[in-house]
Amino acid sequence: MTYLWQKITMVMALSASFAILFALPYLGISAFMVSFLLSVFIWVTLAVSWNILSGYTGYFSFGHTAFFGSGAFASAVADFYFSIDYLLTIPIAGVVTTGMAAGLGLVTFRLRRLRGQLFALTTVVLTSVSSIVVINNWGSGIVMYSVKAFWPFLNIPHVFYTLALLLCFASIGISMAIYRSRLGLNLFAIRDDEEAAEAIGINTFNNKMLAFCISSLLVGIAGAIFAGWIKYVWPETVFSINYSLFPILMSIMGGVGTWVGPIIGAAILTTIFQIVAGGEAVLNNIILGSLLVAVMIFLPHGVYNLVLSGYRRIRRSARL
């Protein structure tokens, strides 16, 4: 009963906010807001997808850079060299990154001992390996000023905004679904005690693989959309360590392991970055750093938890 009720609210809330965000550009918000929100969507996607694997299973991944960069380049190369329609390159990018994830998973998830560490390292390795491969082939980057796509596509207003929005909500939906599903429970079990999970009959390997593939798929697509939007794909930038680091920070800041946390974290951090861009950049960054420390001290479990407990307090006071 309650379950059904809150399912309904959830769906309504999601679709409502989607509708709002979808409409925003046509309600004449400034183009800056459009492209800013776009970058927010991409960051949210990255944070949420990181959380799907690392937040839920506790397997720490430093590999988002690899998937993001590879996704971006997969799309750029397909579009520029093989002149494949841009829209088609998006799924291609997804396939490529998922393949990478599957390969890495096959290597690491099979090994029993020191799972966490080993996985962390292999993701670091994957990052540098993929970036080096790309650098050695398309080191000077690819300029996509003329994105090849079937003609009406480019005329769609705010097309990249829409794509990013769709992806963002897709990943939120997926993350939420997993959180509530059997898969989610398995992943939490794996995070708490992998051997016990095996002993109770959970196929840990498959579950981890699934989570990893979903996560990397989302990141790859994000990369492809980023490529089309930024129109200049350069290894140094799409393989920047930020794409590994910031999703982690965002998730932790928002509340790691919850499905809402990363969304909040991403929104907040991206906004802060915009704010500190103006004026005395260096001082702003110092302030930003101190602020992060404060957040982590006073909100040990992330912002989302603060919101939750705050809500509870209201409820309680309301009841009295």
């Binding site: 290597v107 001992r113 080993l118 390292l121 001082l283 750093g289 982590m296």
Partner: protein, 286 residues
């Protein structure tokens, strides 16, 4: 095409340079493996130590190594303070990452504020030179860095084997709860370890100043390698990290001379991967 001397040369220089990577990773492996703290802030702190050396050389006109007299103690204290902070607020591994990243940002930008983002280079005299054994060259600075690394490793092994602290360290590295049951005063030991790690960082930073011209954001260049070395060496294993560093260095150097420099990191990392698949525990020598 490549002569024997070339290969030997690369082996040598690779080993020495790898020693520097190992040296750089010591701090991280200690704090990650023993304290469960992934301390990103070590990178800009290393650069800070580099600036200290820079000032010692340019303003005071002294030998860069003099700077250690100042930087090691102060870094040791900073490490202790940092750990006190982490203990006070019971920082777990996740939050340690974000907090130390915040510190990363603060320190790096403070450096930018003080010294500007401009490139600095400390004139290092003979440390930048090299001597020759027949046609093989041995860079002095790298050699010294390597030797210091070796000394630290040996000292560390001695500590682990002989002292009570060492016992405690091993116990904690194995299993923290158990260790605390056996009456290891974790928090005090943590202070010690954190202080040590920071002093290692100070040393690494000194060599940063000796080897390269640097900017406040120079530490970031090493994040990838240092993480790889740390994890490959086996978290908490100083010896492991150092050896992992050497493997990385040699692999890079060999690849650079046999294939192409632009491919060398790839070879190095693939090598790490292979080693891991063969020996998943990492090169844990405790």
């Amino acid at each position: 095409m490549v002569s024997v001397t070339g290969v030997i040369q690369s082996l040598l220089t690779g080993t020495l340079v790898g020693g520097f990577y190992g040296l750089f990773a010591l701090g991280l492996t200690m704090s990650w493996g023993v304290l469960d703290i992934i301390n990103m802030s070590y990178f800009p702190f290393a650069v800070l130590s580099a600036y200290v050396a820079y000032v010692t050389v340019t303003s005071l006109g002294l030998d860069p190594f003099i700077s250690l007299i100042f930087s090691i103690p102060s870094f040791f204290i900073m490490g202790i303070l940092m750990q006190l902070f982490f203990n006070k607020f019971k920082i777990d591994i996740f939050r340690s990452l974000i907090i130390s990243f915040a510190l990363f940002v603060v320190v790096e930008n403070t450096l930018t504020y003080v010294w500007t983002a401009d490139v600095r280079r400390a004139p290092v005299g003979f440390l930048g030179s090299s001597f020759f054994i027949d046609s093989i060259y041995v860079p002095v600075g790298e050699l010294i860095a390597f030797l210091i690394g070796v000394m630290i490793v040996l000292a560390n092994v001695a500590i682990l084997k002989k002292t009570r602290l060492g016992l405690a360290l091993r116990a904690v590295a194995e299993n923290r709860e158990a260790a605390s049951m056996w009456g290891v005063n974790y928090s005090r030991m943590a202070l010690m370890v954190s202080g040590l790690s920071m002093s290692y960082v100070a040393i690494a930073g000194l060599f940063l100043a000796i080897f390269f011209p640097f900017t406040p954001s120079h530490g970031s260049l090493f994040i990838g390698r240092v993480f790889a070395v740390t994890i490959l060496g086996g978290l908490g294993s100083v010896t492991g990290a150092f050896i992992a560093g050497i493997i990385l260095g040699v692999a890079e150097a060999m690849a650079a001379i046999l294939l192409a420099p632009s491919w060398s990191p790839l070879v190095a990392f693939l090598l790490l991967l292979i080693i891991l698949v063969v020996k998943p525990s990492g090169l844990t020598w405790r």
